[in-house]
């Protein structure tokens, strides 16, 4: 593998890791909140979270491209705060990935949280556990497997992202050229040997991750 390809591997892992951490920090409370409430406004927020599942990535890519540009407000605010430009940077990719992978994290968590019996929470409450205590000591341990599934799906989906990154990343080796883009670049340059290598690597990686995930008793996570 060439240095550019290694850079793409490192960049992809870094992007997936950073995005997954942010996704879990954002997605867990959001999923908990969504799972405990009902109503039209909840349905609206759920639909908003699920939008990336059905919309073409070009829609999100297009809006992000406009929003992150140096002449747009979000882009300007970012520049004021950090001194760096947001468009076509690693941070832009993280923002895109977090939005794009959000349903993959929120939906499994929401299902798991809904399945937590209210009686367990009530029991914990009678033992003096505050809501935060209940969440930490009852909900999280019960949903450990789902948390792992959510994190793994968020990670895998970020590794597999293409359309949004292509639109807001700009295909810059070592900076925004993640594996899927590097593969596209190889295909365009008709370097099919390198394309095969990257494609096969991605297939094997994703397959391994999903097998580990679906193997029911394997890791003995939760129940």
């Amino acid at each position: 593998m060439s240095p550019t390809e290694w850079a793409a591997v490192g960049l992809t892992l870094r992007l997936a890791l950073v995005s997954t951490v942010i996704l879990m920090l954002l997605g867990t409370p959001l999923a908990w909140w969504l799972s405990r409430r009902r109503g039209l406004h909840i349905a609206f927020i759920e639909a908003l979270v699920a939008l990336p599942l059905v919309l073409p990535p070009t829609v999100l890519g297009f809006y992000l491209l406009i929003a992150l540009a140096p002449d747009a407000l979000p882009g300007q605010v970012w520049q004021q705060l950090t001194g760096d430009q947001l468009a076509f940077s690693f941070s832009a990719l993280v923002i895109g990935s977090v939005i794009y992978s959000l349903p993959f994290v929120v939906q499994p968590l929401q299902q798991a949280f809904r399945a937590v019996p209210a009686s367990s929470l009530a029991a914990a409450a009678t033992l003096g556990a505050t809501p935060a205590d209940q969440f930490r000591s009852v909900v999280l341990p019960l949903c450990r497997r789902s948390l792992l599934v959510a994190a793994a799906l968020g990670f895998a989906h970020t590794v597999g992202e293409f359309g949004v990154v292509l639109m807001i990343g700009g295909n810059i080796p070592g900076e925004t050229q993640v594996l899927s883009i590097a593969l596209y670049d190889h295909v365009e340059a008709m370097d099919y040997g390198s394309a095969h290598r990257l494609a096969l690597g991605l297939v094997l990686f994703s397959l391994t991750l999903l097998v580990l995930l679906y193997r029911d008793r394997g890791w003995r996570l939760g129940r």
Binding site: A123, L127, N171, I172, E175, E188, A189, M190, R220
Partner: protein
Amino acid sequence: MVPGTNTHPVTSELIYNGWMRPRSSDLTWTTLVRIVTAAALLCVTIDGVGAQQPLRIAVAANFRDAAGHIAERFQREQGIPITISSASTGVLASQLQRGAPFDVLLAADRQRPNALAEAGHALVEPTCYALGRLVLLGANSADWRAELADSERSLAMANPRSAPYGQAALAVLERADVADAGKRRVVMGANVQQAFQFWHSGAADLALVARSLSPEAGVLIPADWHEPIEQYALISAASTRPQQAKAFLDYLTKPAQALLQARGYEACP
């Protein structure tokens, strides 16, 4: 499982504190933290491979191969590392306009670099670095006009909206006086390289692409069939290493010219 029915205070407390304690075979939170830390360290290590900040060059698709060779030589002779991003001229120009951190743009036309310069995105006046020529691939050189005019034969070209070579191809098609032109299956690549790939894979019978993609094969289209494809280079006003960018442009417009002409380009007018 959760013995939620147990109400004896002492046992309940034991269970309350006990069930969350992981069994030894479980993947614990500590293990998860370890995995994440290890992955983070791995990322940092892999990342360290390309330590020196390179000169970033955005290259129109037709020039990608040539730019790769020139960059390699330039890198060897002057010790300045280069990364190349390739797309159609239109895509690259709009990315640069939206703040993409390119130091140099090697476009395939004159209009877009000049428009960028007028909008304040250029450090110096854009300069011509090559003159491109169009070839027809897949046709017999004797009666290529007839083949080009035959709407039964599918044709690959770059999208004229974003690619200058696509625009030139469109002009050629208009001039070729294709009978029943609406019937023809035209496949459009996002850039000229992709159009070439479509033809190369057999998906299209003919292709109107840059000569640089296939200097040995194809029929050279007469230069007066389309507007001259003057390829202009621009140094971005936002470049963080303008000296190196200028050095590269000097290299491109002087010592590298012989190499360009061997690859199917002509000298600028």
